[in-house]
């Protein structure tokens, strides 16, 4: 998954309308459970199928902290190690259930130099077969100047 590290993206290389490389996340029970536990989220609906069904859900599903994590990863997969994420705002929609694929896409919506800092706004969408799992707005600072 995380193979070649791109050279760090610089502010002057980024333009409004740029699209980010797509990321397809295969949703498996292992992914859902490992991400829930790595985020110390022990709610039963994220690891126990029978309890998830008692709550009226067809299966276990991804927790919010993991969704935030994927949004963050999606940004730095593109922007590289010198990116500083300042803000992540997510709107949550259709759950990520096992057997589905979340396809993440992103578009640069704003670029602004603020006190020598290259602030970039990105809209991120993670869609599965039920619809949008997440629509996020991210502010990220990229190295500028020199």
């Amino acid at each position: 998954m995380a193979d070649a590290v791109r050279p760090p993206l610089r502010f002057d290389e980024v333009h409004v309308g740029d699209t980010l490389p797509e990321l397809a996340v295969e949703i498996t029970p292992t992914l859902i459970v490992s991400a829930a536990l790595a985020s110390r989220d022990f709610q039963d609906v994220h690891h126990d199928v029978s309890l998830a069904r008692q709550h009226g859900m067809p299966d276990i599903f991804m927790n919010i902290l993991a969704t935030n994590g994927f949004v963050g990863r999606f940004i730095t997969d593109w922007a590289g190690p010198d990116a500083l994420i300042r803000r992540v705002s997510v709107r949550l929609g259709a759950p990520n259930f096992p057997g589905d694929t979340m396809r993440m896409t992103g578009t640069v919506t704003a670029t602004e130099l603020q006190d020598g800092e290259g602030m970039v706004g990105v809209e991120v969408r993670g869609a599965n077969r039920l619809g949008d799992h997440v629509v996020a707005s991210v502010s990220v600072s990229l190295p500028a100047g020199r």
């Binding site: 998954m1 995380a2 193979d3 590290v5 760090p8 996340v25 992914l31 490992s34 991400a35 536990l37 790595a38 985020s39 110390r40 989220d41 022990f42 069904r53 008692q54 009226g56 067809p58 919010i64 902290l65 993991a66 969704t67 935030n68 994590g69 994927f70 949004v71 963050g72 990863r73 730095t76 997969d77 590289g80 190690p81 010198d82 500083l84 994420i85 300042r86 803000r87 992540v88 705002s89 997510v90 709107r91 949550l92 259709a94 077969r129 039920l130 190295p143």
Partner: protein
């Protein structure tokens, strides 16, 4: 940051006090006492997270690469902000009176708003966290909406605001989590032992009774204006063309084609099986009706595909007109 809102002894809610008023009393209160992280920000937890999320950014796990980066050292993924103060598998139960969020949820549960879903999460990072940082999370009930109607059901949006401070008391990040506490829509939950549910019944009235009586006899009928002779569906009292109230009905051939369709996958509602095809069928007489396309793999359904009516007893009492691909495979 300490909670500056003194709640005092909450006066016993008089019975006549409205739910909305009782809820609003919670706005501005700490949702619970501040929580100190059990452990500082640490490399093993960061590694677990990066493994799970598949995040290969070297600034989280590779000392050398992190040192050479803009961060000048190892940092934690910013979206882990909430992780460090999570209550864990065996949370310590809050003292009575200190669990304001629990009280608020209890009031809503009792009022029938039993379900909860998170709708938004906004995190802001004042700085990246580094191994060794020890966080304290302070939580406040920031806002409670009026009752809102949503696709899930009617309920209240509750904004919870978390402030994270480090070992020096400086704010390192904030989070706004919005949840919807709602009364689930009336629908049969998919609990296995529940009584088997049946297909919804058609609402039969004076205008459409002929149609359903026809279906019971195995006839597909179309309403016809006796003023101008035009056909119409669904049944209604007045002709949209000549405004005549006079009508009779003619028997359709039962042949038609798929004018449009959707394949329904979700949400599962008993007793339907999924996926299934909801089709808008154009009859050869010209009128259209909504039905199902059956006896075919949903993926094979195409617009324009010839279909013919069949009458299916979906349970002991209800017969529905359904459409299946025309036998003999007549293609156009």
């Amino acid at each position: 940051m300490t909670a500056q809102v003194e709640t005092g002894s909450s006066p016993q809610a008089p019975a006549e006090q409205s739910l909305a008023a009782r809820l609003q009393r919670f706005v501005g209160r700490p949702s619970r006492p501040p929580v100190s992280a059990a452990d500082p920000v640490n490399q093993p937890m960061i590694r677990h997270w990066c493994d799970a999320i598949g995040d290969g950014n070297p600034v989280y796990t590779d000392l050398q690469a992190a040192g050479a980066s803009r961060h000048r050292g190892l940092v934690a993924p910013p979206t882990m902000l909430q992780v460090w103060n999570m209550p864990g598998l065996r949370p310590v139960p809050p003292l009575p009176g200190e669990d304001q969020l629990g009280e608020l949820m209890g009031i809503l549960d009792q009022a029938g708003y039993t379900a909860i879903v998170a709708t938004n999460c906004e995190q802001e990072y004042a700085r990246y966290l580094r191994p060794g940082d020890l966080l304290t999370a302070t939580s406040m009930i920031e806002a409670i909406s009026e009752e809102k109607r949503t696709a899930l059901g009617s309920g209240y949006f509750i904004n919870l605001h978390e402030t994270y401070t480090d070992q020096r008391g400086e704010v390192v990040g904030t989070m706004m989590l919005r949840v919807l506490k709602f009364r689930p829509n009336e629908r049969a939950e998919s609990s296995p032992p529940a009584a088997p549910s049946r297909r919804p019944r058609p609402v039969v009235n004076d205008d459409n009774r002929f149609f359903w009586e026809g279906v019971d006899r195995g006839e597909l009928l179309i309403q016809r204006c006796t003023g101008c002779g035009r056909l119409r569906h669904p049944p209604r009292p007045t002709c949209p063309h000549c405004r005549s109230f006079e009508w009779d009905a003619v028997r359709a051939s039962g042949r038609g084609s798929v004018y449009s369709y959707v394949i329904s996958h979700h949400p599962p509602v008993p007793p339907f099986s999924y996926p299934h095809v909801v089709g808008l069928i154009e009859l050869e007489e010209g009128t259209r009706l909504v039905s199902n396309v059956i006896d075919i793999d949903p993926a094979e359904v195409r617009i324009g595909m010839p279909v013919e009516v069949c009458f299916i007893a979906v349970d002991d009492e209800l017969v529905l007109p359904q459409f299946r691909p025309t036998s003999g495979g007549r293609e156009r």
